[in-house]
């Protein structure tokens, strides 16, 4: 077996997250490729949440969600019901007889582990560290690694608590060692030990820092909040000005004003928060402000499913804001792409003076895996503002539509930006036949040409089958599930293609897509938003029967991609 999927299920507040955080680190630190993703309810306590940990053997990278469960750890009486649809013959359940009535689940392969009993004996509030011990035993994770993690987490809580957690880990470990035959032998890859672990939200933050971001004003909103907290956590070492905005309207206005002043700001939110930012986006359009916007998508409309995943806000990002102005929309599909494109977004926004979007979603921002630190390439901060002299004109007409951007306090020029239509100096004007036409030509036509000549940061290239007749199109976070499915299908006639820049469509889109005999498309919404974009802007039509549209809020699994492709060819 090349990889293993283990799933931990429990109530919010029971410490499922702790198990995830510990195990991801411990598995990686021991030399296993690891992937983790979580699904959780929009509540602080109770409910039923789960985390999937995938462990790859040897050089097998695991980077996408699978429905399959090999090892299930239910930490609550309702836990098995929560994931029942995912349990199969290959599933082994570590069942706690004190929690769960074994007789109800005789159809499953169950092994009893006395989680609650031991927890009570030790006198701990939670079962999580004991569970970490059990899993560590199963995966032969060294005792000392576990102890380091426990010490880091619990040393502040006093010696007594620390000692109890050590004891829980040790007891769990010895039980786990006896259970190691439940899972096939997993090979370690010593390379992995030195790799880094990141989730999507942290990586947006890290990419922002590497892109020179030093200002964030944001209003907390799931699932984007992790980006804000990451930047806040590192605000001291990088001198990042962090402001918890009164609302998203203020947040985007502050971001634009920070760019005006020469800072680099990110507006980070989810779809509902971005709704409030539409007016500000349009402001950025007319004053030709650089702007980077991160939308971590979740299912709507309205409050929708606040903690679930979707790709429903592509149209929103594309069409938001009154009036006409340009924008670029990135939709990274991996941790590496999130890091790369977030950095690039800052440089492009600065250079072309337009809004640049990073579209992620709950699945991507809440998923972790190990990557080589060297693969996190630094792009470099390329500031595009200039020192001005006294006759500076903020909107001087230029051949490429871009006026070098001055900022207050650098040079002697006056920087005057105006949300009203304005002339080259930024003076309000209603000269429609003269200035309005020229400004439209500058903002729309000339700048549009400059954008269209700009290369797509990550080239559009098919992956998988070399002699492909069928091409499976995806964008954003669907990438790695589609990639893994296509690798497993391993048919030279089937390839995938991933759009990490969804707007404008990469120039080569049409020529690549028209080569395929059959096009399939997978996306996380009910109306085929990207499908429609391809039709409208790429002259590519995909019939409805070739679409896989998933909008129920669950992540896209490798299995369903395989099943869809299998059924469609």
């Amino acid at each position: 077996m090349e990889d293993l999927s283990l799933v931990i299920v429990g109530q919010a507040g029971q410490g499922v997250q702790t198990v995830e955080q510990f195990m991801v680190g411990l598995l990686k630190g021991t030399g296993y490729n690891v992937f983790a993703t979580k699904e959780y309810m929009s509540r602080v306590r109770g409910g039923m949440n789960s985390t999937e940990l995938r462990v790859g053997s040897g050089e097998k990278k695991v980077r996408a969600y699978v429905e399959r469960i090999d090892l299930l750890i239910p930490l609550h009486k309702n836990a098995i019901e929560h994931v029942k649809h995912r349990i199969s013959d290959s599933t082994t359940i570590l069942l706690d007889p004190e929690l769960i009535d074994e007789s109800k689940y005789t159809q499953y392969k169950c092994v009893t582990v006395p989680f609650t009993k031991i927890q009570k004996e030790i006198g701990l509030k939670f079962v999580n560290v004991y569970a970490v011990g059990v899993l560590s035993g199963i995966f032969k994770i060294p005792h000392k690694s576990g102890k380091i993690f426990i010490k880091e987490r619990f040393s502040k809580k006093g010696d007594a608590i620390l000692k109890k957690n050590f004891e829980a880990f040790e007891k769990g470990h010895s039980i786990g060692e006896n259970l190691k035959d439940l899972v096939p032998e997993m090979k370690k890859d010593p390379q992995v030990v030195n790799e880094i672990l990141l989730d999507g939200n942290q990586t947006v933050g890290l990419g922002a820092i590497a892109g020179g971001c030093n200002f964030i004003s944001a209003y907390p909103m799931s699932p984007s909040t992790g980006t804000l907290t990451f930047l806040a956590h590192h605000s001291k070492e990088f001198g990042i000005l962090v402001d918890q905005a009164e609302d998203e309207i203020a947040a985007i206005n502050k971001a634009i004003a920070a760019w005006f002043t020469g800072a680099r700001a990110i507006a980070s939110t989810s779809g509902g928060g971005f709704d409030l930012m539409c007016e500000g986006l349009s402001l950025a359009g007319i004053i030709e402000s650089p702007l980077v916007i991160h939308i971590a998508q979740r299912p709507g409309p309205g409050t929708g499913l606040p903690t679930r995943t979707s790709q429903e806000d592509l149209n929103l990002a594309l069409y938001a804001g009154h009036g006409e102005f340009h924008r670029i929309i990135f939709a990274p599909g991996s941790i590496e792409q999130v890091f790369h494109l977030t950095q690039i977004a800052f440089n492009i926004a600065d250079k072309i003076q337009i809004p640049v979007f990073i579209l992620t979603d709950q699945y991507l921002v809440d998923s972790y895996y190990n990557v080589k630190a060297d693969d996190m390439k630094l792009v470099g901060v390329e500031h595009a503002f200039v020192e001005t002299d006294s006759d500076y004109k903020r909107y001087e007409y230029t051949a490429n539509g871009i006026t070098p951007r001055g900022i207050p306090g650098l040079g002697t020029g006056l920087i005057r930006v105006d949300s009203d239509e304005h002339d080259e100096w930024g003076h309000i004007t209603e000269d429609m036949r003269g200035v309005r036409d020229k400004m439209t030509d500058k903002r729309i036509h000339k700048k549009g040409k400059t954008i269209s000549e700009h290369p797509t940061p990550i080239p559009l290239e098919p992956f998988g089958g070399h002699d492909a007749e069928t091409l499976v199109i995806c964008w954003g976070s669907s990438y790695l599930a589609v990639k893994e499915a296509i690798e497993e299908i391993n048919d030279p006639k089937i390839a995938g293609i991933h759009f990490s820049q969804v707007f404008p469509l990469p120039k080569e889109s049409n020529s690549i897509l028209t080569k395929a005999k059959k096009l399939l498309l997978i996306e996380g919404n009910a109306t085929g938003q990207f499908t429609n974009m391809l039709k409208l802007y790429g002259n590519i039509e995909i019939p409805n029967e070739n679409l896989y549209l998933k909008s129920n809020g669950e992540p896209l699994s490798v299995e369903e991609v395989k099943k869809f492709i299998g059924g469609a060819i």
Binding site: D243, I256, G262, P408, G409
Partner: protein, 287 residues
């Protein structure tokens, strides 16, 4: 006499006799007397007749959206504390569309001066009620008279413990100038709610009306006493003019922000610390 802050005056789009003429002249004189230079000034505004003031002030300008001047001003100052940031916008922009921004920038103690040109009416949209319009006033929308209570921006600002709270009237040029100068010099959030009559749409609150319904605060009035300030803030006929409340003991937002703990330079002058970044990436080896 010319003033270094005059700018594009031939384009001025106000009605003859508008209070904004006097207000902008007083503001220019105040800046001149304070020894300010146009290059260090940022004039921020929303939308409305008052918000056009920035168009005619020499300095950097951010003429943003209706109601959104305060978040913009907050971020400009927070990104570059070396700049002096003044907001000129009307009562509709500041207390209506931008009401929550007003509260929240006060609570942050953003280091900006907000001059609300208060004419108790919507001018640019031709005469509807504003948040400060008097109860009973008839307008094309409030056909049978305004039923909302008017907002009392002074009392609201005192309640939020704003750093500097004053009321002025453009008909009293000398005192208004003194107030502006102190407001701009104050390190923290300064509000100057400035009566500035609309000659076209407000036939009730005219120059003459403001003269008759205002009085200058007594010389011995102590603006440092918050309880007394509340008392003064609640007086509405006649309205007291002057500095009603001060609390200079508070640090401004930017100074309290960790971004300025070690480095006092504006954000644009700083370089990304590559070593710290590499260290941060490395730190992700152990989760």
């Amino acid at each position: 006499m010319t003033n270094s802050f005059e700018y594009n005056m031939e384009a001025v789009a106000w009605c003859p006799g508008c209070g904004n003429f006097a207000l902008s002249r007083i503001l220019r004189e105040a800046l001149e007397e304070l020894g300010k230079k146009p290059e260090e000034m940022v004039f921020v505004s929303g939308i409305g007749q008052a918000a056009k003031t920035a168009q005619y002030m020499k300095g950097h300008m951010f003429n943003g959206l209706h109601g959104r001047a305060l978040p913009v001003a907050m971020a400009i100052k927070a990104s570059n504390p070396e700049l002096t940031v003044i907001v000129d916008s009307g009562d509709g922009c500041t207390f209506g569309e931008g009401g929550n921004h007003f509260n929240q920038q006060i609570l942050r103690n953003s280091d900006i001066t907000v001059i609300s040109h208060d004419n108790q009416i919507y001018g640019l949209t031709k005469g509807q009620a504003s948040p400060t319009s008097e109860k009973g006033m008839k307008t094309p929308v409030q056909v049978y008279g305004v039923t909302n209570e008017p907002i009392n921006p002074i009392a609201a600002a005192v309640a939020l413990d704003a750093s500097f709270v004053a009321r002025a009237f453009v008909g009293d040029m000398e005192n208004t100038k003194k107030i502006f100068k102190q407001a701009i010099s104050n390190k923290g959030f300064s509000l100057v709610d400035t009566f500035s009559p609309c000659v076209s749409f407000n036939k009730l609150n005219t120059f003459k009306w403001y003269k008759e319904h205002t009085y200058a605060l007594e010389e011995n009035y102590d603006p440092l006493n918050r309880k007394e300030a509340f008392g003064k803030a609640l007086e509405t006929d006649p309205f007291p003019l002057g500095i009603i409340y001060r609390n200079s003991s508070k640090k401004p937002f930017w100074e309290m922000n960790i971004a300025y703990e070690k480095d006092k330079r504006p954000l644009f002058k700083r370089k990304l610390d590559l070593n710290a970044l590499k260290k941060l990436i490395e730190s992700k080896k152990i989760h």
